[in-house]
């Protein structure tokens, strides 16, 4: 893992709204190696999806600021124009599985055609060839080819999810962003999909950016975990280290809120809700909800420190060198 496949440096994505500027992603940096999986966890409204959209550059109209560096194979794709980016990066190198995949399929197109769409749009493949390819990919994700000729409403939730994954894989991208890929599925189907994702990762060597609010689920797939809070990255660590010993108070609270089987544990929760991103609290953005909040937390924003190799924390508790 010498040269990272994807490196994000100080990425900023602010939206302009009538009420003010929403600082959805506020200076996030991370690296992702080939075949690696980065799990991004956090509560709803922490900027996880915005980060994903910023990476694949699928932006709404009301972008206020969009800055930083996104290096793909060492080349800064932020320098590309929208059209160049669309042609060369979007879906060819970075593809995405959307939140609520059930709704990401056009109800009036047959599944096969839909899955083949990126090939026709991006690779200029002709229809027959693209659909043949789509059938192959459907088989790969465990859907019988005959479903290529069905309409989305004839598929179950899990099958639709598989079809959407096939659609994300069909252009053979290097990175796939999975935005809560299993959020609307029952646990059995969820397990199936997670196993499928693991198999694909092993066989194709694809890198995932796996966005979820389910910290337990993230442990299934993650090599690295990044915790986001209010547009900031608050902790980034290797999976083993993170799950055994999270350092940031927010991460600890998140871990404590995960139910476990068989042990009678009192589930913890974090009082309050993530702050408004229009007007974030001064200092550390987590301090109003933090049990260890100190004076300095209220005044100054904590720096991001590398506590150990590859383990970053943005917290005053660890700012002194641990």
């Amino acid at each position: 893992m010498s040269a990272p496949l994807l490196e994000v440096r100080n990425l900023l994505l602010h939206y302009g709204t009538r009420k003010g500027v929403v600082r959805a992603v506020d200076g996030v940096s991370f690296t992702l190696g080939a075949g690696e999986t980065l799990a991004i966890v956090g509560e709803s409204g922490c900027g996880k999806t915005s980060l994903a959209r910023a990476i694949i550059r699928l932006l709404p109209r009301n972008v206020h600021r969009f800055e930083g560096q996104v290096l793909l194979d060492g080349a800064d794709v932020m320098k590309l124009s929208d059209e160049e980016f669309r042609r060369e990066v979007q879906w060819r190198k970075i593809s995405m599985v959307f939140q609520a995949a059930q709704n990401s399929l056009n109800p009036v197109l047959k599944v096969g055609f839909q899955v083949a769409e990126p090939l026709m749009v991006h690779m200029g493949m002709d229809r027959e060839e693209a659909i043949a390819e789509a059938r192959k990919h459907l088989r790969m994700v465990g859907i019988h080819e005959s479903f290529a000729d069905r309409y989305p409403f004839e598929l179950s939730g899990g099958m639709k999810q598989r079809a959407v994954i096939a659609m994300a894989l069909i252009t053979k991208p290097r990175v796939v962003i999975l935005d809560e890929p299993t959020s609307a599925l029952d646990v059995i189907t969820q397990a199936n999909i997670m196993n499928l994702l693991k198999t694909i990762k092993r066989e194709l060597g694809i890198s995932y950016i796996f966005i979820t609010h389910d910290i337990a689920l993230s442990s299934e797939l993650a090599d690295k975990v990044m915790v986001m809070y209010a547009g900031h990255m608050v902790e980034l660590a290797g999976a083993d280290e993170f799950y055994t010993k999270p350092l940031h108070p927010y991460s600890q609270k998140l871990m404590a809120s995960v139910p476990t089987l068989r042990t009678d544990k009192k589930l913890e929760f974090i009082p309050g809700a993530p702050p408004s991103l229009i007007n974030p609290p001064p200092g550390c953005r987590f301090h109003p909800r933090c049990p260890y909040a100190m004076d300095v937390c209220r005044r100054e924003e904590p720096p991001t420190v590398e506590v150990k190799s590859g383990h970053y924390v943005k917290c005053w508790l660890h700012a002194g060198g641990g």
Binding site: L58, M96, S104, L105, N106, P107, V108, E117, V121
Partner: protein, 475 residues
Amino acid sequence: MSAPGAEFGLKGVVRELLTYKSGIVGLAILGFLVALSLYAVIAIPYGEAIRLWRGQEAMWIDNPRTAAPEWVEIFVGKKLPRTIRLDSRVPGAGVSKAEIPLPGMNMKNIIIEFRFRFDYDELPSEMNLFYFANYSGVPPYIKLVWKKPSGAEFELIRYSLQAPDDRLYVSISDAVLSAALSYYTEKYPVNVSDRVTVLKLLFGRVTPKALESGDFEVEKGEYVLRVEATVFDRKDDLNAKLVVYGTVYGIAGTDHLRRPLEIPLLWGAPIALSFGLTASLITTFLQMMIAVMSGWYGGWVDSLIQRVTELYMIIPFLPFLIMVSVFYKIDIWILLLVVIALSVFGGGIKGTRALVMQLKESPYIEAARAYGASDFRIIFLYIIPKILPPVVPGLIGAVPGYVFLEAGLAFLGLGDPFLPTWGKVINEAYTNGALYRGLYYWVLEPAAMLMLTAFAFAFLGFALDKIVNPRLREL
């Protein structure tokens, strides 16, 4: 959208339509109208239809004037007279012609005898005699003799032909009236009513009472009209055609110019259908495209389109259309263009735009944008198929509106000047006082066709609405 197991494509839609009563009725009426249109276009081609419709009176001279259709008998309960045509040039039952040369002279007598039964319960409406003479010098000298079933036989007129194609309007001829009257008043010396007419004397049972009151019963039986002509050259010839006009004609009756109403009723169907469908299809399609542009691109494009739409919605449509039709005498296809031009930015844009704006934010369109589908591809593959279901019933429902519009303009005398259409028939019925004169068929027939068309599309619209809008389905 559709229930699982539903079929797709046109066949599926038709099959689904047939599961609704209104769908069956609508399709049946529409099928009938389409069959009628096809028949009209094939049986009476366009040029022929215009020739027949615009033809001078000579073309229809054998038809009765403003005759009701034959089926009104069912309601009247009487046997109404049909038109009887007898022509000496067409030999057949009831016509005989004899030539008797006069010895020693270059002359001959030609005797044409028309023999026909008249068993109807009402008097005929008119009776005319048409001559086809061929002479070089002196015109033939003619004597007409009328013989009634009762045996009464009298002379109607004696005169020389004025022209080779001379004609005698028997029913309004004063000479015939006085001849017949003098025959009967000799028999019955009574005060004759003013209301006695030629036809009453010729076809009525003449009694002193009838002569005094003017009310005659029809004398049923065999009549004979004998044309005794003297021609003054052996080479001369004379033929004649007798037409006893009925009071009913065909399946649709005739108008004031003796034209059979089948022609405009038949031809009205293809014109109404094509006008209504074309106008509806084109305006709906254009409105949809404009609405999609407006909703999808947003920003200033949206604002501009919406403001133009609001302006268009304020413009009074009908007065505008009437103004254009008055200033430029336009035919039906130009009219169609004007109608389309005036309704391109219609209210339909508002509703469709709202749908598009909602659809624009849906996840699958976002996904399409993510994998780089172009605007064009998204609009045609993602947005339009999704907004078609609510648009189609609207399209079908708008057809009768345009059909009525065309009829309305024709009624106001602003329609196509050449084509026979339903609206024009109503217009002519109105200007000729059809309702005042009790000629209800003249107005009711085209009106019924118009209503039938409206029903067909209304029923189809209901059924389609239920199919694409499952919440309206009956349980």
